[in-house]
């Protein structure tokens, strides 16, 4: 859709540190990375490696200490209409129906209600919830609620979709179904997808490239190309080999 040409991200010398108990703790150290238009980049790393921080900087919710991010050549300052974020929690407004929630993103951007709802209906159907437009969030299961959150992000037709452990709170069965759903949506919508996860199998299933953030000081970020045909088969030998390679990166294998 709108992401056919744009959605190129370049990260230059990006550094960010937090001060915890008076001590400065660097989470990102002069990171350089180019994310291609339309690719699916998955960020993994031990907790504390700054993967969520990186995503929040890309979203414009946090500012870098030094260095910066540019999207299609334009430097990023704050949130922008070309990006949408899917959080770990669905973050639905409990007083709006599914339709109201999905249309919300467009409505706050000034799109007339009728038009916003029409587009919202399309994406509600895309995530398989066509029958649930009038339901309230409290009536939905965790997986359904997260689908609503995904539909809301897609409705604003972003060039870049930023996902912060979007399936982290779901049970194992729902999770696998949702991974397939995300792979399908990504291939249909032609959007640049940047996703944080702690699930290595999820990373291999979805990613064109996996970015591994180092935990220890002085370590370098590593990029691994996942060269597998889609749709991917989790039990396939090459899939398993990628999994072993990633586990080795974490020193677990």
């Amino acid at each position: 859709m709108s992401g056919t040409s744009g959605g190129e991200v370049s990260i230059r010398d990006l550094s960010k540190s937090f001060s915890i108990g008076g001590r400065s703790l660097a989470v990102l150290r002069t990171l350089n990375l180019d994310i291609r238009s339309g690719e699916c980049l998955v960020i993994v790393g031990a907790s504390g490696s700054g993967k969520t921080t990186l995503l929040r900087i890309l979203a414009g919710l946090e500012a870098a200490d030094s260095g910066g991010v540019a999207i299609d050549g334009k430097p990023v300052h704050g949130v922008g209409a070309e990006r949408a974020v899917i959080f770990q929690e669905p973050r639905l407004l409990p007083w709006l129906t599914v339709l109201g929630n999905v249309a919300f993103g467009l409505e706050v951007r000034g799109v007339p209600k009728a038009e916003a709802e029409e587009r919202a209906r399309f994406y509600i159907a895309l995530v398989g919830l066509a029958e649930f437009g009038d339901a309230f969030p409290r009536q939905l299961s965790g997986g359904m609620a997260q689908r609503v959150g995904i539909a809301r992000a897609l409705t604003v037709q972003p060039e870049i979709l930023l996902l912060d452990e979007p399936l982290g709170a779901l049970d194992a069965m729902t999770k696998i179904g949702m991974q397939e759903e995300l792979a399908r949506i990504w291939s249909e919508e032609n959007v640049t997808m940047v996703m944080v996860t702690h699930d290595l199998e999820e990373a291999i299933y979805l990613a064109d490239r996996v970015l591994i953030l180092p935990k220890e000081k002085g370590g370098a970020a590593r990029l691994i190309d996942i060269d597998l045909p889609r749709p991917r088969e989790r039990s396939e030998s090459r899939f398993v080999r990628y999994r072993e390679e990633l586990l080795r990166e974490f020193g677990l294998h």
Partner: protein, 282 residues
């Protein structure tokens, strides 16, 4: 409710002709009866006990007259119109004060909940005011405003203001910051975030305040009408007691209880309508 059950029974009876209409009536009637009894049984038993012990002379009937005498006095007062004037003036006092409290507390509370500096500056004085009993301040209001309507309305206003104000502030402050961030990600400006996220999120808490304030309004109404009034339900309670018209006194008390129930019920149904999304309405 009963009509609905009869309709249900009738439609069941026509659908299944092998069951007799009569037994359906009995079964459904019995079920409805049990539901009714489990909810109102204790209340009915209480009233029955009162009636029996009073008419049998187990208690002093001069102090606790039987229910039928209270109902008779209530009917006479309402049909004869003497109590209607009292109800009208009481509703006017409580209504004015409550409306003024709503108009002041909700906008002020929304503002204070949003702007931390204002809340920080006003919180200590609010806590002091809140902890000072409105009844203790009533003599002060009488000195300032005289013994007429103004001081009565003002003392009710004063007492109803704080529950509503504090609950509104609380409602705004407890809105999930994750929802605020979500709205920001979609580019919502401050006013949009307030209108679409903060305000609806605060509504349930505002209703808690409204219901507390309505109860407080009736409480203070009675107290204020017991001092220097010559009309009103609270005045009637005191006046009937002075003149030893005990059934009339109880009739006035019954009216007060009724007003309280109606006010609460009205707020509950308004809350149900506005907060269909939450099932937290008790």
């Amino acid at each position: 409710m009963t009509l609905q059950h009869i309709e249900q029974a009738a439609s069941l009876g026509t659908r299944d002709s092998t069951t007799s209409l009569g037994s359906d009536f009995l079964r459904l009637g019995g079920r409805a009866g049990i539901r009714f009894l489990s909810r109102y049984g204790v209340l009915i038993a209480f009233l029955a006990m009162w009636q029996v012990s009073s008419s049998a002379g187990w208690v002093n009937t001069a102090v606790l007259p039987p229910i039928d005498m209270i109902v008779a006095a209530l009917w006479k007062g309402l049909a004869g119109g003497t109590l209607l004037g009292d109800i009208a003036i009481s509703l006017q006092r409580a209504g004015l004060a409550f409306a003024a409290a709503v108009l002041v507390a909700i906008p002020l509370g929304l503002f204070m909940g949003q702007v931390r500096a204002v809340e920080t500056a006003l919180d200590p004085i609010l806590q002091v005011f809140r902890q000072t009993s409105a009844l203790a301040l009533y003599p002060v209001f009488i000195l300032l405003l005289g013994l007429g309507e103004a001081s009565k309305v003002f003392v009710i206003f004063w007492a109803t203001l704080f529950p509503l104000l504090l609950n509104t502030i609380g409602g705004v402050k407890q809105v999930d910051p994750k929802l605020l961030e979500m709205a920001r990600v979609y580019g919502a400006r401050q006013l949009t975030v307030f209108r679409r996220v903060v305000l609806p999120g605060a509504v349930p808490s505002i209703f808690v305040g409204l219901r507390l304030s309505a109860t407080t309004a009736l409480l203070l109404l009675i107290a204020s009408e017991m001092i220097g009034a010559n009309k009103g339900i609270g005045f009637q309670v005191m006046n009937a007691q002075y003149n030893f018209q005990i059934p009339l006194m109880f009739a006035a008390i019954v009216i007060l209880a009724g007003l309280g129930l109606i006010a609460n019920q009205a707020l509950v149904s308004l809350q149900r309508r506005l907060c269909r999304w939450s099932n937290a309405v008790d």
